[in-house]
Every structure is written in structure tokens, then in C-alpha cells.
Amino acid sequence: MAADDAMDLLVARINEVQQGLYAFILTLVPNTEDARDVLAETNLALWKKRAEYDPRREFWPWACQFARVQVMAFQKRRQRDRLVFGEALLEKLAGESQPQAALAGPMELALEECLGLLSVKQRELLGQRYQQERSIAEIAEQSRRTAGAVSDALYRVRLALAACIKGKLANDEARRG
């Protein structure tokens, strides 16, 4: 394969796994801003090591290795901050999350359908939290509810979506099997 083709392929591969990597990292670094930073550092690290990229190798595990290294580096930088997980938990979560995050693509398709099953109010709530990036307190103030009630409602929506996605993926698996 020509060098330029290999680079094209690498760029395409990196592009394809962005969503999965973000999900993988967010599980380990459960803060959306921090996860975004770690993803950017992972991308940069992948690119710096482009000379070592072998198109015949499976890409996802290779990319996850880079993400894990960057998560560990982040954890070391923020050791004094008590809001980071310790190495023992990170190891466990990383090992278990890697296969799940690889399914980000199918999960997104399932999410698309599951969102359609939500009520208008539930979709509005998600829009306020994620699209408009409002805090729980802001949503509560605007909707004249308590912060606890808003947080509960969001929690239930996320759980419902998780169950819906899990069910759809299982159905797809069964149909294929």
C-alpha cells in the first residue's frame, strides 16, 4: 500500500472511532470537558505514532491503548484532585468498557430509534441539558422545579434509553444469529 493511501486509511480509521473513543474515555474520566481533552490528546498521540500504524492490524484495540495511556497520564496529572478514579478501578473499567465502546456506531443508530420513543417533555429535557448545555440548576429554575426533580427525571430518561438501546442491540444480534 502506498504511503499516502496508508495515511488516508489511518485518518479515516481515526475518524471512524472518535465517538467510540469518547464513550470509552468518558467512562474512565466521567467529566465531559476532561474527556474531550483526553480525546484530543489521544488523537494527537495516534497521529504522532502514524509511522507505526499497520493497516493489517485491528485498529480499535490499538486506538484504545493510546486512550488508556492518555487517561493514565491525565490521572497522574490530577492525582491531587479527588475527583479522578484510582488506577485499580481504571484498569477494571478499561478492560470491560473496551468491547462495549467499540459498538458506539450501532448504539448511536439504536439511540436514534429510542429517542423517538420518548415523550416530547423528555426530549425537551434532553435538549436543555445536552444541546443547550444548561446546568441542572438552570433547568430547575426555568421549569420551576427542584434540582432534585430535574436530576431524577434525567436519570430516568438515561436509564430508559440505556435499556432501550440494550434491547435493540440484542434484537439485532438475535436476528443476525
Partner: protein
């Protein structure tokens, strides 16, 4: 202390961590539960996966600093606020221009009334019948990023200039068209006086005069000499010490040097490609200068602080793969999820470049990126044929046929790949070879094609949106920056 086996507080901890309000104590408790309980970890992973998907899918910044939400879903193809912002920016340019214009008109109106009152109450100030009415001898026809001194007699486009009025341009470019047909491009900072319908005085600064044969005889007065056009295009510079120089781009000029009493003491004809220095008591032939680049010969061209020639596009377009123009105020490449693939075209007119191909040290295309996917590249290619098809087909063609476009540079070379593609800044691509070829063969200048890289795995195009070239006054347009070899 919470019982390690009691995980009834687990839902509240999940809520806190995903809502971004987790305390240190809650974090430690969550970590303890997750370390011990495999079921809790599975719930946590699934819950956080949904949180990640929602953040990625819906959040404007969820895909990283430079990601177009367009790649996620057509619903969020372009957040409304972004559309509004772009629309507002476009409107703002117009509104601000009109607002400034309005203020100036209002100011002029009030000034006129006050002046009329003054003239009426003080009859001696009125021009006498014998002096006649002042004649309009020139007009400011175009400007580009012009900043005028408050004492300038003219300070916006379309204003008519009377004989004797003075223009003080602090920066930017202004084009003045004389009644006799000469067109002068003032390169700020400059002080220039409109003398007659066929002459002006350059007190300091730079200008370029383009004089059609019918307007031959146009003259530019400098403190030490008068430059009389013989049907040509020439540049004049007056330094602060009143020394001057002139460079002839085409045709020839007659330089007349004055004595202190104004009489002509010396004359010298300067031909195309030649320059002379005008010093007290002498006219010195100068070497053909690379300093020719110092002049902006039209409003599409300027000179930056490093002495590089900076060109704006003379034409641009965005078309989709169906061959239909997809102009939406931006130069776009690639495809949104639901839309057709786009490519964009840019053309720079090098006719005004004073440089020959072998004088070009480097040429850099600068594109201001407004949105892009997280990874990918935009190929910058040389168009090998006119954009428009002959035989009455007005539609533009996409570069879908390999080989029709000769790649000169692609952004996937080292240093040009955007990882991630940073928006809100210029990205540079070396197009030296293309510019040199256009200077050698101007007829072969069909401009550049911007095309998103096609993924070999998904077949999708890299999507990017660059700042449009909508007007010369627009901010951050595409630029072609040409650097000349250092003078020996």
C-alpha cells in the same frame, strides 16, 4: 460510614456524576462501589455510554473543539445559533457599512445646514459669481478596508471630490477615478490632493496610476518632480523626507524635475520595467526592483507588513456533485450526512502581480476554517480547465474524474493535516508551483479546487467549511500570499 454492601445510594451517585455535581465524598463512594460490584460497573458503563452518546450527538461542543455537529445528524446539521450567527455576520457587514454611511450622511447634512446658515449670515464667505461653482473632478469609486483620517475631505465610497480637496488615508486601499479617465489606487498611509480632472499631488505615501491612452497626460506632482503619464501604469512613492521614486509597470512616463522656483530643470523618460529615484537635484536610475511588490495595483491586491503580495480571490464558487451551485455564503467541501458532496473553486487574478515566475519565492493559500469534521483533509488541487462547461451549460463541474485536476498540494502532507482541524483560524497550503505555472502561462490559470478527502473505508468525504469570499470588505477571506526572492 456507608455500608459497602448497601448500594441504595448508587442511583444518586450516577445522577451526580453525570450532572457534573459530584462531591469528593460522593466520588469516593462511587469508586468504592464500582471496585467491588461487577453489576454496578455494568450499569455504570451502560449509563455512561448513553451519557456519552447524548453529549456527542447533541452538544454543540461535544465532538471536540472543531467538530461540525453536521456529521452526527441532519437534525443538528448546523445549530440554529450558528446559522443565525453567520446570517448576522453577513447582515452586520451591510448594516455597519450603512450605519457608518448613515452617520456620515447625517454629519454631512448637519454640516451643510450649519455651513449654509454661516454663509447666509456672513455674505463675504460666499463664493463670488466670478469664482464659479467648484467642479467635481474625481470620485472615490472603491475602497478596501480603508481607514480615513478625520481631516480627510473624502472618506467613503462614491463621494465626489472637488479640485483642491485632500485625501488622507491612514490604511487600506482606495480607488479614485478622475474625470479625465485615470484611475489611481491609493495605498494607505497616504496624503494625496486632487488638483484637476487630470492631475493630483502626492504629498507622502504610495499610489498606482492606471491611465488609458485616451487619458494620456495625467500627472502626479511630488515635492521634487512631476511624473507625466504617456499612456501607462506606474507607481509613485513619496517618503517622509520628500524624496520619491517611480516605477513603470507598462508604457512609459516623463519625469520632470523642478527647481525651487518650480521651473523644470531636468527631464527623464522612464520605460516599462524601470524605476528611478527622485532626489534633490538629480534623477537616479534604480535597479529593477523587487520593491515593485510594494505597490497594490488594484483593490484585489495589497502588500502586507513583510512586503509580501496579498491577493484576494477574483472569483469563487461552491458546487455539489449534481453540478448545482451550492453557494450558501461559504466555501464548502465534503458532504453532510444527508446532503450531496460539495467542492469549491477559487480563482486569483495574477495579472496585477509585478513578479515573474522565477521571482516567486513562495506562494501560500490561506483558508479560514469555520467548521470541519474531527479528522480528515482537504485536497487543494489546480483546476486544469475552465469551471464552466462550454456549449451553454452554465453548471459548474465537480472534480470527480481522476486526472482532470493536477494535485499540487494536499493537506494530508505533514504539517497540513488538521488534527483536529482547528476552526477560527487560517490554514495554509503551499501553492508555489501552481502560482509559478500561472505566471508563466496566464491563460492556464483556472484557479484551485478544494475537495474533501474521500475516506477509503467509508467512501465519505471529509467535510469542511471555509470562510467565504463574499466581498472584499468581508473578514478573513481566502488569501493568496506571494513572497518574492530577497533582493540581492
Amino acid at each position: 460510614m456507608a455500608d459497602r454492601r448497601d448500594t441504595s445510594d448508587f442511583p444518586a451517585l450516577l445522577q451526580a456524576i453525570s450532572d457534573g455535581v459530584c462531591t469528593a465524598k460522593q466520588h469516593a463512594r462511587l469508586e468504592a462501589i464500582l471496585l467491588d460490584d461487577a453489576d454496578a460497573r455494568e450499569t455504570y458503563r451502560q449509563y455512561m455510554a448513553v451519557h456519552a452518546l447524548l453529549t456527542w450527538r447533541m452538544s454543540p461542543g461535544g465532538q471536540g473543539q472543531a467538530v461540525a455537529a453536521a456529521t452526527i445528524s441532519a437534525d443538528y446539521a448546523e445549530p440554529a445559533d450558528s446559522r443565525l450567527r453567520r446570517a448576522w455576520e453577513a447582515c452586520y457587514d451591510v448594516i455597519s457599512n450603512y450605519a457608518v454611511l448613515g452617520m456620515l450622511i447625517s454629519g454631512l447634512f448637519i454640516t451643510t445646514i450649519l455651513l449654509s446658515l454661516a454663509l447666509w449670515t456672513v455674505p463675504d464667505w460666499r463664493p463670488s459669481e466670478t469664482e464659479g461653482r467648484p467642479q467635481v473632478v474625481a470620485q472615490i469609486t472603491r475602497t478596501r478596508q480603508a481607514s480615513w483620517d478625520k481631516n480627510s475631505d473624502g472618506n467613503f465610497k462614491n463621494v465626489e471630490m472637488f479640485a483642491g480637496e485632500r485625501l488622507l488615508l491612514r490604511s487600506g486601499l482606495a480607488e479614485v477615478t478622475f474625470e479625465d479617465g485615470a484611475i489611481v489606487t491609493l495605498n494607505g498611509p497616504v496624503e494625496f490632493v486632487i488638483d484637476t480632472a487630470g492631475s493630483g499631488s502626492l504629498r507622502r505615501g504610495k499610489l498606482v496610476a492606471r491611465v488609458a491612452p485616451a487619458a494620456a497626460g495625467f500627472s502626479v506632482q511630488t515635492p521634487l518632480a512631476t511624473i507625466v503619464d504617456l499612456g501607462t501604469e506606474f507607481g509613485v512613492t513619496v517618503e517622509n523626507d520628500q524624496s520619491a521614486s517611480t516605477t513603470v509597470f507598462a508604457g512609459s512616463v516623463l519625469v520632470q524635475q523642478h527647481a525651487a522656483d518650480g521651473t523644470t530643470v531636468r527631464e527623464h523618460v522612464v520605460k516599462a520595467g524601470k524605476s528611478v529615484l527622485l532626489e534633490p537635484g538629480r534623477i537616479v536610475a534604480a535597479k529593477p526592483e523587487t520593491s515593485r511588490i510594494r505597490y497594490a495595483r488594484n483593490l484585489q491586491t495589497s502588500v502586507d507588513n513583510e512586503g509580501n503580495l496579498v491577493l484576494l480571490p477574483t472569483a469563487s464558487a461552491t458546487v455539489d456533485e449534481r453540478g448545482q451551485a451550492a453557494w450558501n455564503g461559504a466555501l464548502k467541501t465534503g458532504r453532510d450526512k444527508m446532503g450531496p458532496a460539495c467542492a469549491s473553486f477559487l480563482h486569483f487574478d495574477l495579472a496585477a502581480s509585478p513578479l515573474a515566475a522565477d521571482e516567486v519565492e513562495s506562494a501560500t493559500l490561506k483558508l479560514w476554517l469555520t467548521a470541519a469534521q474531527q479528522f480528515g483533509a482537504t485536497h487543494i488541487q489546480v483546476a486544469a480547465e475552465p469551471w464552466k462547461r462550454p456549449a451553454g451549460q452554465p453548471r459548474l463541474d465537480l472534480p470527480t474524474t481522476p486526472g482532470r485536476y493536477t494535485a499540487v498540494a494536499t493537506s494530508r502532507r505533514d504539517g497540513d493535516v488538521h488534527i483536529p482541524p482547528a476552526t477560527g483560524q487560517y490554514h495554509e497550503v503551499d501553492v508555489t508551483a501552481a502560482v509559478q505555472s500561472w505566471l508563466r502561462d496566464p491563460a492556464g490559470n483556472f484557479g484551485l479546487v478544494l475537495q474533501g478527502m474521500k475516506s477509503p473505508t467509508t467512501g465519505e468525504y471529509f467535510t469542511a467549511t471555509y470562510r467565504e469570499y463574499a466581498a472584499v470588505s468581508g473578514s478573513n477571506p481566502p488569501l493568496l500570499v506571494i513572497e518574492a526572492h530577497d533582493p540581492e
